[in-house]
Every structure is written in structure tokens, then in C-alpha cells.
Amino acid sequence: MDKLLVIVLFCVGLFGILASRSLIRKIIGLSLLNSSVVILFILSGRIDGIRAPILTQTESGLIVDPIPQALMLTAIVVGLSVTAVALILAVKLYRSCGSLDIREIEELLDEPAE
């Protein structure tokens, strides 16, 4: 079930970034892709019924692998900043072109026929 969630999220995100012409949808697609990778890492560090990775003086035994969680904290922060910059650029492009459609924006910049 969890794996299915990752795959569905990944595919929806990939579809969004590849097929959509709207910049906002592309950015949402990218965000979804990012989340699917985050969930993938988190899932791989999770085992039901095992303690959280907090070392104490008295307890010992199996603990959950803390590394994926630590990594994903970083990845979430990085993803957030990338999304923020992407949205800023999208807003600026919208203000100067009046459109979010990537093909329309690209056509504005194409060289005129000679």
C-alpha cells in the first residue's frame, strides 16, 4: 500500500512536469516528485514496532534507522527553497507576459522571420 502511494505520487508528478504546459502545474508536479522521493526514503527507514532512535542509559535493543529521516529533513528544506524560487520566477514571468503557458512565453521570445 505504501509503495503504491510512492509510485502513484511519482507518476502523477512526472506526468505533471512533462505533459502540462502551465508553469504552476509543472511546479506542483515537481513538488509531488519531491514528496514521493521523501516518502520513499522515510518508508525505507521504518519498521513497525521498533523503538525510535533515541539513545538512553537504560534501554537497549533494536532501533529504527535514523539516517533516512535526517536526510529527508535536508531534502525537504532544499525542495522548499527550490519551489519558492520557481514560484517567484513564475510570478515574474506572468507579470511580464500575462500568461503562464510555457509555449506562449517561448513564442514571445522566438526570433522573428527574416
Binding site: 511546479i27 536526510l71 526570433e111
Partner: protein, 576 residues
């Protein structure tokens, strides 16, 4: 861990960060008290650290700094070895020249220099990192700071280029992360040395296979192959190798020209160094063979697109793609000679490409247009820039006694019996043709319209003599580097080998035959062919053909699909 070994690594890494922070203070202080000291701190610190690190590296050691005192495999290690040392020196030269070139313009403020040094900081991280997840973080910081530098002009085209780069590089880093995930699942480690060891121990029954568990060996191998292919795709996107290159020409065209010089000169080379550090530890022969062919394709693809360009900076951008092909092919063939050829070419290309961007960028900014077919007669107005440009253009075309020629000799020595080498020869002819076409802007007579712009004082120019002198000094140093690499290639190649392998393990010297009749003949043929091709390109028929070829651009959606197709190809290759 003795502190003497750690200090140079720390300084090499953090000098750009300190310079970035100092530059930011420039928002409140006049530039004299913030921006110039920031540059000097960075330059002085980095050079001192390189000097301090040199003796150990010459003896084949590498200097390592472990974050928080946790050594590998638990902590994150950053290390400086011979490869990083050479790359850092190249980076310092290019970045200094780019920095000096920005001084002539008022529009570059404190924020610009902040992101400029942040880019250098993350570049240094990419060069030093020995932890695969850490590498991801550096790559993302690098792409964010380059995106802001690319869109610095706030024009429509620069913002479009920036968002294209952002989407493409973010998609590539998703591939990279999935690769990291697979490797982590397989080996339970993120440190490259540890990953390599555990992957190697797969075949021997002696080492306990705690992490790999019960998977059959064949499946582990194919999973490792997939992971490496995903990581390679992520890195190749940053290095602008087709079909992952589509962001580069737009981004390098839209960026302010000193930034283009840094981007083309070094930002696309750093991922190659990272790739190198991964594959010097992990062996993966079938992918390497694929990279040789991909290098050949890259060289031809880039040059074919470059020849038809009208925009001078875009032409240079496509040539960066093409030149990366030489580096990739030499890297893929591997061995002592292949790897040293790749590094030699990385240095040579960094020098002449940044020189090209700095000269062409300066003159096209002054003339107000970048149309290769329209600008003429700039020689009269920019004698110094004309000479510097001609040195760089002759270098990239492979004229003897310059860096490009010796670089090509070395690459051809490495690849001599490989069929992909034919593609590199073809690319050489195209390169010469394209630069003959570009050189035309300096000769002939300028049109009246351009004369007016050139003779009026540009509004942005500071107009100070010192700023112009500083920019000239940067060009002078790079030109001297180009000439030195062409005149004393044997010495430079010897030092590259010495730094890569250390004094004790120095491989036996190989006779390259830098200036033999064969190499001179090859250069003559390719330049002759290039001249003929250039005549065709500048003819009305050639111009018409070029115009039609330019209309076939793929756009953002096309580029993203191309990337996914390229990734699937690499995955397929890794499973063969």
C-alpha cells in the same frame, strides 16, 4: 586527524562563504570597504590553503576533514586530493577573471556578489565532498545560486532561461536521489569509499553481507547498475551532456557575461569532477564504454547546433556542450592517459571558454547586439579584446602552440584506436568553421548604426580607468595560461600526473609526441576543412539553412521529454 591536515581543507571550503557574507555587508557599506575586501579574503585564503596543501598531495596523500569529528563511514567527510587541488586552482583563476570583469559595471551590487560567492562555495563543496547525499545538497545550492545569477538581468529571456534550468536540474536531481536511495538500501552507507567497498565485497563470501541480506547476487548487481545510471544521469545534466544539455545554451546566453564565463568555464566541469570521484572508487566498465560514445555524440551534436547560431553568446554556449564531449570521451576511456587527458582538457577548456565569454560578452554589450551576421569591424574599437579573443578562438579551433591543440593531441592519444574518435575529428572541423564565422565580427567595417552606439558613452560603464585595467589583467592571465598550455604541455602534463598520483606512485612517462608531424598535419587538415565550411556558413545559402535549423528548437516540454528518454537509455545500458 591532525589539525594541520584539516586546516587547508576548511579554508578552501569556507573562504568563499566568508567572502559571500562580507559581500552582503556591502548593502550597508560602500563597495570599497566590503566587496573588494571580500574578494581579497577569498583569493588570499584559497591560494594560501592550496599552497599549504600542496606538499602532502605531492606525496600522494589526500587531506580530509570530517564534519563534527565523525570519521567515515558514520560522518560526512570532505577531502582535498590532487584532482580537487587542480580543479580548485582552475576555479580560482576563472572566478577571479570573472570577478574582475564585473567591476566595470555599476549594476552588480552586493546581492550579486553574495550569490557569486555562494556559487563558488557550493562548487568547492561539489569538488570536495566524499558523501553521496552531501553531494546532492551541494548540487542544489549550486543550482539555486546559479539560477539567481542567470536571472540577474531581470529580463524576460533571462527569467525564462532560469526557470527552464530550475525545472530541468530539479528533475535531474530527483533521478540522482532515487539512485542514492538504491545505493543506501544496498550498502547501508552514504560514504563513497564505504559504498565502493561493500559493492566490491558482493562477490566474496568472506565479508558478512548484513545489508544486502538475502537478495541474489545477480539482482544486487543490476540494482547497483540502475543506481549508478540514475546518479550518472543526474550528474550529466549538470555537466550539460546531450540529451540533458538543453538548459545550457539559453542559460549561458541570458546570464550577464562574467557569470556566463564562470558557468561555462567551471560550473559545468565540477560535476565531471564529482563523477570522476565516484567512478574512481566504483568500477562500472559498460557504463564507461557508453560514456565514450556519448562523448563523441556530444561533441558532434553541440558543434552542429553551434554552427547555425546567430546569437554570439548562444554559439559559445553550444560550443561548451561540444567541448564537454571531448572531456567525457577521454574520461570514459579511462586509464592513466585518458583521465589525465580529461583533466588537461578541463583546464584548457575552462581557460579558453571563459576568455571567449569575457571578450565576446564585453564587446557585444558595448555594441548593443549579439547578431553574428550583423556586427563587423570591432577590431578598431577593442584592440586588446580582439587579440585576447583571437588567442581563445585559435585555442578552441586547435591551432598549434595553444591550449586547445595540446588538449586535442592528448585526447587523441587516449582515444587513438576507438571508433568514437572519428566523431571528435568531425567536431574539430566544425569548431574551426564556427569560430572563423564568429571572428568575422572583429573584421570588416562597422555599420553606421553600430558606430553611433560605440562612440557614445555607455550609460552603465563606470568609465574609470582602473576598472578597465582590472578586467584587462584578468584576460591577460587567462591568455597567458592558454599559451603556456600550448608551449610547455609536457611540463603541465607532468605536474597533472604528479598531483593526481603522488610522487611515489608516479606512472612511467608516456611519449605523447606533442608536436609530431602527425599531430600538426591533423590540425592543419581540420583548420583547412573548417575554413571551407565557414565560407559555406557565411554564404547566403548557408545563412538560409542556418535560419531554418534554428527554427527547430524543442522548447521546455521537449527538453524534459528528451531528458527522460536519455535516462531510459542509460538505464538500459546499465542493465546490458
Amino acid at each position: 586527524m591532525n589539525p594541520q591536515n584539516e586546516l587547508p581543507v576548511l579554508i578552501i571550503l569556507f573562504a568563499p562563504l566568508i567572502a559571500a557574507i562580507l559581500s552582503l555587508i556591502g548593502k550597508f557599506l560602500p563597495p570599497r570597504y566590503s566587496i573588494t575586501p571580500a574578494f581579497l579574503v577569498w583569493l588570499g585564503g584559497s591560494l594560501w590553503a592550496l599552497y599549504a596543501a600542496a606538499p602532502a598531495i605531492l606525496y600522494g596523500q589526500s587531506l580530509t576533514y570530517s564534519l563534527g569529528g565523525w570519521a567515515e563511514p558514520y560522518g560526512i567527510s570532505l577531502s582535498v586530493n590532487g584532482l580537487t587541488w587542480i580543479a580548485t586552482l582552475t576555479d580560482i583563476v576563472i572566478a577571479s577573471a570573472a570577478w574582475l570583469a564585473t567591476r566595470g559595471y555599476r549594476r552588480f551590487g552586493a546581492l550579486f556578489y553574495f550569490f557569486f560567492f555562494m556559487a563558488l562555495f557550493s562548487l568547492q563543496g561539489v569538488l570536495c565532498s566524499r558523501d553521496i547525499f552531501n553531494l546532492f545538497v551541494w548540487f542544489e545550492v549550486l543550482s539555486l545560486s546559479s539560477i539567481i545569477l542567470i536571472s540577474y538581468d531581470r529580463s524576460l529571456s533571462s527569467r525564462l532561461a532560469a526557470i527552464r534550468y530550475l525545472l530541468i536540474s530539479s528533475l535531474s536531481i530527483i533521478f540522482f536521489l532515487i539512485g542514492v536511495w538504491i545505493l543506501y538500501r544496498l550498502t547501508g552507507s552514504l560514504a563513497l569509499t564505504e559504498i565502493a567497498q561493500r559493492l566490491q565485497s558482493l562477490n566474496s563470501a568472506v565479508v558478512p553481507r548484513a545489508f544486502i541480506g538475502t537478495l541474489p547476487v545477480a539482482r544486487v548487481h543490476s540494482a547497483a547498475g540502475l543506481a549508478l545510471a540514475l546518479i550518472t544521469a543526474g550528474i550529466l545534466t549538470r555537466a550539460a551532456i546531450p540529451p540533458f544539455h538543453t538548459w545550457l545554451p539559453d542559460a549561458h546566453t541570458a546570464a550577464p557575461y562574467p557569470v556566463s564565463a564562470l558557468l561555462s568555464g567551471f560550473v559545468i566541469k565540477a560535476p565531471m569532477i564529482a563523477l570522476w570521484r565516484i567512478f574512481e572508487l566504483i568500477e562500472f566498465p559498460q557504463l564507461m564504454e557508453g560514456l565514450v560514445w556519448l562523448g563523441g555524440v556530444t561533441a558532434v551534436w553541440g558543434v552542429a547546433a553551434a554552427m547555425v547560431q546567430k546569437d554570439a553568446k548562444k554559439l559559445l554556449g553550444y560550443h561548451s556542450v561540444s567541448q564537454m564531449g571531448y572531456i567525457l570521451a577521454a574520461f570514459g576511456i579511462g586509464g592513466v592517459i585518458g583521465r589525465s587527458a580529461a583533466l588537461f582538457y578541463i583546464i584548457a577548456h575552462a581557460l579558453f571558454k571563459s576568455l571567449l565569454f569575457l571578450t565576446i560578452g564585453h564587446v557585444t554589450t558595448r555594441v548593443g547586439t549579439r547578431n553574428v551576421y550583423k556586427i563587423r569591424g570591432l577590431r578598431r574599437f577593442f584592440p586588446f579584446y580582439t587579440v585576447a579573443f583571437l588567442i581563445a578562438a585559435a585555442s578552441i579551433s586547435g591551432l598549434p602552440l595553444l591550449a586547445g591543440f595540446t588538449g586535442k593531441v592528448l585526447v587523441s592519444k587516449a582515444l587513438h584506436s576507438h571508433p568514437a574518435y572519428l566523431m571528435l575529428i568531425a567536431a574539430g572541423v566544425g569548431t574551426a568553421a564556427s569560430f572563423v564565422k564568429l571572428s568575422a565580427i572583429f573584421f570588416g567595417t562597422a555599420s553606421d548604426e553600430h558606430l553611433l552606439t560605440l562612440e557614445s558613452r555607455p550609460t552603465e560603464d563606470r568609465g574609470s580607468k582602473t576598472a578597465a585595467g582590472e578586467a584587462h589583467f584578468g584576460l591577460l592571465v587567462i591568455s597567458a595560461g592558454c599559451i603556456a598550455m600550448g608551449v610547455v604541455p609536457r611540463l603541465i602534463h607532468h605536474y597533472i600526473l604528479l598531483l593526481l598520483h603522488g610522487r611515489a606512485a608516479l606512472p612511467p612517462s608516456i611519449e605523447i609526441g606533442w608536436y609530431s608531424s602527425g599531430t600538426l598535419l591533423k590540425a592543419g587538415v581540420s583548420i583547412g576543412g573548417g575554413l571551407l565550411l565557414a565560407l559555406f556558413l557565411l554564404s547566403p545559402f548557408g545563412k538560409n539553412l542556418a535560419h531554418r535549423a534554428r527554427a527547430m528548437s524543442v522548447g521546455l516540454n521537449g527538453s524534459l521529454r528528451l531528458m527522460v528518454a536519455g535516462l531510459l537509455l542509460l538505464l538500459f545500458l546499465s542493465l546490458l
